[in-house]
């Protein structure tokens, strides 16, 4: 069969290309596009990758499969005009405050406007005034910049199976919103930020803490230290014209010192710590056969995902804090740090935006103090380095500060998918003479879900390594159905793990991730010690402070707990607020099922009854949403006592017994 296609007069062989856009790339023609991402479904909305196929006319190349004998033109006056008009139309409807826009450092709209040769915007400027949603700790949403390419919607749904945002309304009112127009922190967003990663403009972007960090750096009261996550070292260079994957931790440390951080530590140290704590936890559970599979807890997006969608697996989550939080807690509670009586502040440099929300979790405090004060993404720290006028390219490397700058190669592996599992297996191997009988983890494996098996004291151990929450959802569903059984599961939310995090310099292709991954592997290979157990400073920490793995001190500093987030909070409606004489707290469920079963009427009758028989401050009455006993509604809770199939008489009896 003739597998040839002619693109702009050049013959191109096609071989498995999914669509003509990719084939055109092969032919050296880079068609502009907003909505095409190889890892997302084809959408066909931006109308920029249009091509003219002989006999077929103008079609979008992203949604058209190659067929033998096609003759294609990509650069006709008509196509150029349509592309130009499309971009002008977008610009007419886009809030153009480019110099101060968070995305200006690599805005795709700006890039494509240049590329298609926009000289003027012939159309009427329609300024959308939208309220900017600052509610999330991780992300900011500004609809006035949105070009409605839908990339964020698909990333959220197709990569993470979360679907926190979607299209709403019609015509010129179309907007991308969380459900019911709520704010991002009120819905099921897991803060992974993949939406922001794929957003071509500044419509959704990581929340910046740059100014907050400058502020504490210049405040005499504080002793500010930094910790740098493993995945940052191989990507920071991209912000300074280096290729992806080059380990630039030395320059980064030097830059951070120049900026004013008193100490610069390596989160990989805490990764080693995690290996020890989590392995210990795993062995305990494995021997007791309880709460398996052990689910890793390093990734805060994954943790929130489990809390929201799989609360039945909360007990399976490792109680270990993530390395970021562990290191924060260690730094702040370590006697060896001489802060000259100043208050220690910890700033982490992370490849991740979910870490910003993680640092704000109320569980992530020790004795009332936040473990980590502020979190910066790679892009943010690069911006600070530029603001400080530091010539990053020509900096002489410096090393991390001891003791928490010391790490094993295994600790650095945490920056990529499979790294945690690899580090744990390495450690267990060493410690307990594990025999890895099958598939030693292939560090170069492309799969987003792979299995590893090994034998421990004659028993088979089966583990899984997953990246992408959608893949994780599939695995958990299969486990629930009884079709799969694992003892240990490592999950990272972003593609290929933290190297693909949303705090990283923007990337659109997997090639960048492969280079970063290779960089991480290189760090490990070149390390003098490659097993967390061999981290001398870690051992010293155990001897001097933590005493032993899993000790009560380590528990108070390094472990945490989780809660069920299946229901969105903040929905309850207070009707009577009670007071100091409050005798009873009544909650009436007004969820759909209870409502249909008459809870509204119960509520009215109760209000009337309370009004007649009680003083205002004696009763607290709340309308609440869903007690999850729908089939037995209406559900009323009085002083913690749940009354199912509640009738008004039941409430009356209960209230009269109080008198």
């Amino acid at each position: 069969m003739n597998k040839k296609i002619i693109i702009d007069g050049v013959e191109v062989n096609y071989n498995g290309e999914k669509n003509l856009l990719e084939l055109a790339r092969k032919a050296g023609v880079e068609l502009p596009t907003f909505c095409y991402h190889s890892e997302l479904s084809v959408y066909g909305a931006c109308r920029l990758c249009l091509i003219d196929i002989e006999g077929k006319g103008i079609v979008s190349s992203c949604s058209t499969a190659p067929e033998p004998g096609m003759i294609i033109k990509t650069n006709t006056p008509e196509l150029r005009e349509i592309r130009k008009i499309a971009v002008e139309l977008l610009l007419a409807n886009h809030k153009m405050n480019c110099p101060s826009c968070a995305k200006s450092y690599n805005c795709k709209l700006l890039e494509i406007a240049n590329k298609v040769g926009v000289e003027e915007v012939r159309f009427k400027k329609v300024d959308k005034e939208c309220e900017i949603d600052f509610s999330s700790h991780s992300l900011v949403r500004d609809s006035s910049k949105c070009i409605l390419c839908g990339d964020c919607v698909r990333a959220c749904e197709e990569l993470q199976s979360v679907g926190a945002i979607d299209f709403a309304y019609r015509g010129s009112s179309v907007n991308i919103l969380p459900a019911f127009g709520k704010k991002l922190n009120e819905v099921e967003c897991v803060d992974c930020g993949q939406c922001a990663r794929v957003c071509p403009t500044g419509a959704i972007y990581p929340k910046s803490n740059v100014n907050d960090v400058w502020k504490i750096l210049s405040d005499e009261r504080y002793y500010v230290v930094a910790q740098v996550a493993p995945a940052v070292r191989v990507s920071i260079g991209e912000m300074f014209e280096f290729k992806p994957g080059i380990n630039l931790s030395g320059k980064l440390v030097a830059a951070l010192k120049k900026i004013g951080f008193k100490k610069v530590y390596d989160t990989s140290f805490a990764a080693d710590l995690t290996v020890l704590e989590e392995s210990n936890e795993f062995l305990g559970r494995f021997e007791r056969k309880e709460n398996l599979p052990l689910l890793t807890s390093c990734c805060p997006a994954w943790v929130k995902f489990v809390e929201q969608y799989y609360p039945e697996f909360i007990s399976s989550l490792s109680t270990c804090k993530s390395p970021q939080q562990m290191l924060g807690a260690i730094i702040k509670n370590n006697s060896s740090i001489n802060s000259s009586a100043k208050e220690v502040k910890v700033v982490s440099i992370m490849p991740c935006v979910a870490k910003k929300s993680e640092a704000e979790r109320e569980e992530m405090t020790t004795n009332g103090t936040k473990d980590v004060d502020l979190v910066l993404s790679v892009v943010e720290i690069a911006s600070m380095i530029k603001q400080a006028g530091i010539d990053f390219k020509n900096l002489s490397p410096e090393s991390f500060d001891l003791p928490f700058g010391f790490k094993s190669g295994a600790g650095v592996l945490f920056g990529k998918s499979g790294g945690v599992a690899e580090a744990v297996v390495r450690y267990l191997n060493y410690e307990n003479n594990f025999v890895v009988c099958e598939n030693k983890i292939d560090l170069n494996d492309e799969a987003h879900w792979k299995e590893i098996k090994f034998v421990y004291k004659g028993k088979n151990v089966k583990a899984a390594v997953i990246s992408g929450l959608k893949n994780a959802r599939q695995v958990l569903d299969e486990i629930k159905k009884g079709n799969l059984k694992y003892d240990f599961i490592e999950v990272m939310a972003c593609p290929r793990g933290c190297i693909g995090g949303a705090g990283q310099p923007v990337y659109y292709d997997d090639d960048t991730l492969v280079l970063r991954r290779n960089g991480i592997i290189e760090c490990d290979v070149e390390s003098q010690i490659r097993n967390s157990k061999d981290n001398l400073f870690l051992m010293k920490l155990y001897m001097e402070e933590l005493r032993e793995i899993g000790s009560s001190i380590s528990h108070s500093l390094l472990h945490t707990h989780y809660r069920n987030r299946k229901r969105l909070l903040g929905d309850n409606i207070e009707i009577l607020s009670g007071g100091k004489n409050c005798k009873a707290e009544i909650k009436v469920c007004v969820g759909t099922s209870c409502f249909l079963r008459g809870s509204q009427e119960l509520l009215m009758k109760t209000m009337k009854y309370v009004d007649e028989k009680f003083n205002n401050d004696e009763i607290k009455l709340t309308a609440e949403f869903c007690e999850e006993t729908c089939s037995e509604g209406p559900t009323v809770t009085i002083n913690g006592k749940k009354i199912k199939k509640c009738k008004f008489e039941d409430i009356k009896t209960e209230l009269n017994s109080l008198k």
Partner: protein, 634 residues
């Protein structure tokens, strides 16, 4: 064969017996238009009035009573098409039709026509041209020129009674298809008939079926597109309301042809009556074994689910419609893959419009040759149109394809009306065909035969068949703006060109309407319109600029008048008015001066007044106020 099916035999027998007893049949039009004009009150009044007269009233013809006493059958049927004259009441066998019947008229009808067989002259239809009263459909011009095929039973049978459908020859085509034809035979028959999709695109139905038939899949679907959304169009609604079994029968045949066991009817929820009647019809068909497992004892399974859409115009686009059935937001997807390969739930799917499916049984029953003999060679058959606008007889009509525009407007439509409602065919300016996706036809097209290809060749389309007649008191720029605003509101917002382009086009038209435009505005409208046409993702976007582009093409002078002379030839664009007081006519009464909201009029009592052009905001209040018509608009 038909005679083998026990339900069909019984239904026909039962019907024959009852019809023998019916002495009079009173048909009340139960289409939405007539219902809005209180047809149901008329219906109830009839039942009550007849009962009060101790006459035997029957409303369902289900009576099993063996008495041979004669009965009066009061039936509420589907739309009869002549909506402007509703509610329509026809009485058989007298063959008299009363128009605009009010509940107050019922007693008189019962007294005179029912009891004494006398005709009430004042309730007859008066032909506006001949100015004479006409008694029955075959005399009324509106009906005389029509040829009803897909509407053949609308208004004639009670849509809520399957027996009436069967008695009228219904389900014979389905039985023929199931027992006497192979799947390929059916596809061939439809292909040969030349039937083209009535929903707008005009794609060959037979080819669509054949493409899906040859696909191998564990499951296939047939989807009926009842998401009719053009402003002023109600062809599909009338069929679903007036003859729901024809749609079901068409779907059964299509199901057999492509190998689908499940069908969906997607109806917008703004059509509650259509939904209700379809559901009743489906229930009845299931009870008779015409739907469900082993239909008609043929060994085939086929069932239908009615799916209510939320009323987004874009859901009439087939990929958006499928997304909507799947529970997703109704947004189109790029084609290919076409639904024939990957349709509903990823399975091969045929999507046909209501009218297309309702036409299918006719072709199967009577053969492709007969169908092909109607209409034009490339567009055989008939087409329904929703005739509205400035025309004497508005309503739902069906004519052979290839009918001339003038025959529709001047014969069936009874002529163009002016702003006072008087017929004046000289006032004809344009006809907007095909709704917001269509284009404008002008005087020069009056003799053009209307079919898929002729319309396409001049940048319009038949669409689903909306036909709005426009007289020359109407500004064409404003007409174009109206349709653009509609598509803007209804754009799903997915692709850039449609979403943003349809927002800019009304803005550019506003520039013309409000006197800010120039020649460049028209040029930009054309450039943008062409880009939207060529580059949009789906049919809605690709056709959205048609109203503007076709009116610029045929009424360029009028556009230029707005742009350059800042004049609106129809005097509709208020911002372009130049009110002047004709001194000769002005008596200086001061009324205009009092009504002017900005104090732009000066003048002494009993002396001619003057308008200060600089202050005038062109609101037109003075013109309305002046009793002497002394103010002209320049």
């Amino acid at each position: 064969m038909a005679s083998n099916n026990v339900f069909i035999v019984e239904a026909i027998e039962r019907r024959k017996k009852i019809l023998n007893k019916v002495s009079k049949k009173i048909i009340i039009c139960g289409g939405t238009g007539c219902i809005a004009n209180r047809a149901m009150k008329v219906y109830k009044k009839f039942c009550d009035a007849l009962k009060a007269e101790s006459l035997n009233v029957e409303v369902s013809l289900k009576s099993e009573s063996s008495s041979n006493e004669s009965v009066i059958y009061v039936s509420k049927n589907g739309c009869q098409g002549f909506c402007q004259m509703g509610p329509l009441i026809s009485i058989e066998p007298d063959n008299v039709v009363y128009v605009k019947v009010r509940p107050e008229d019922v007693d008189e009808i019962v007294e005179k026509t029912i009891k004494k067989n006398k005709i009430i002259e004042r309730l007859l239809y008066i032909d506006p041209i001949k100015n004479q009263r006409e008694k029955w459909y075959d005399e009324i011009n509106f009906y005389k020129k029509q040829q009803r095929l897909s509407l053949r039973r609308c208004g004639r049978i009670n849509p809520e009674d399957i027996d009436e459908y069967i008695y009228d020859g219904g389900y014979e085509a389905a039985i023929k298809a199931l027992f006497d034809m192979s799947d390929k035979d059916i596809c061939d028959e439809i292909l040969r008939s030349g039937l083209r999709g009535r929903g707008g695109g005009g794609f060959s139905t037979g080819r669509k079926w054949e493409l899906t038939r040859i696909k191998k899949a564990d499951k296939k679907y047939i989807v009926c597109n009842g998401d009719e959304g053009d402003p002023g169009a109600f062809m599909d609604r009338s069929i679903m309301e007036g003859d729901p079994h024809a749609v079901i029968e068409g779907m059964i045949i299509a199901g057999k042809a492509i190998g689908a066991e499940e069908g969906y009817i997607y109806v917008r929820m703004e059509y509650p009556l259509a939904v209700e009647r379809l559901k009743i019809a489906i229930d009845q068909a299931r009870k008779y074994g015409f739907l469900g497992k082993n239909i008609f004892n043929s060994g085939y399974n086929f069932d239908i689910i009615v799916m209510e859409g939320a009323g987004a115009f874009v859901c009439g686009e087939e990929t958006a419609l499928l997304a909507s059935i799947e529970g997703k937001r109704g947004m189109p997807m790029p084609k290919p893959p076409f639904p024939a390969e990957k349709g509903l739930f990823g399975k091969p799917t045929v999507i046909n419009n209501v009218e297309t499916l309702a036409t299918v049984p006719v072709i199967i029953k009577e053969g492709w040759e007969k169908f092909k003999s109607i209409g034009t060679p490339t567009s055989p058959g008939t087409k329904t149109f929703a005739l509205t606008g400035q025309v004497a007889n508005s309503g739902l009509i069906e004519t052979p394809m290839g009918i001339k525009l003038k025959d529709i407007i001047f014969e069936i439509g009874g002529g163009v009306t002016d702003k006072n409602g008087e017929i004046n065919n000289q006032k004809f300016k344009a006809a907007q065909i095909g709704g917001p996706s269509g284009g404008c036809l002008t005087k020069e097209h009056l003799d053009m035969p209307l079919d898929f290809d002729s319309l396409k060749s001049i940048g319009a389309m038949i669409g689903s068949g909306g036909l709005v007649v426009i007289n020359d008191d109407t500004c064409i720029v404003k007409v174009a703006r109206f349709f653009m605003q509609f598509t803007q509101n209804e754009s799903c917002g997915k692709c850039v060109l449609c979403r943003e382009g349809t927002k800019q086009m009304p803005a550019l038209l506003d520039d013309l309407i409000e006197g800010r435009g120039d020649e460049k505005t028209i040029e930009l409208l054309e450039t943008l319109g062409k880009a939207i046409q060529k580059g949009s993702l789906c049919g809605l976007g690709k056709t959205a600029p048609n109203p503007v582009l076709s009116t610029i093409k045929f009424f360029r002078e009028e556009y230029l008048a707005h742009a350059i002379k800042k004049e609106c030839p129809s005097k509709e664009c208020k911002a372009l008015l130049k009110p002047k007081i004709v001194a000769k006519l002005c008596k200086g009464c001061g009324l205009c001066l009092r009504y002017c909201p900005v104090g732009a009029i000066k003048g002494n009592k009993k002396e001619p007044h003057v308008i200060n052009e600089e202050l005038c905001i062109k609101c037109g209040a003075c013109i309305e106020a002046c009793k002497l018509n002394a103010i002209t608009v320049g």
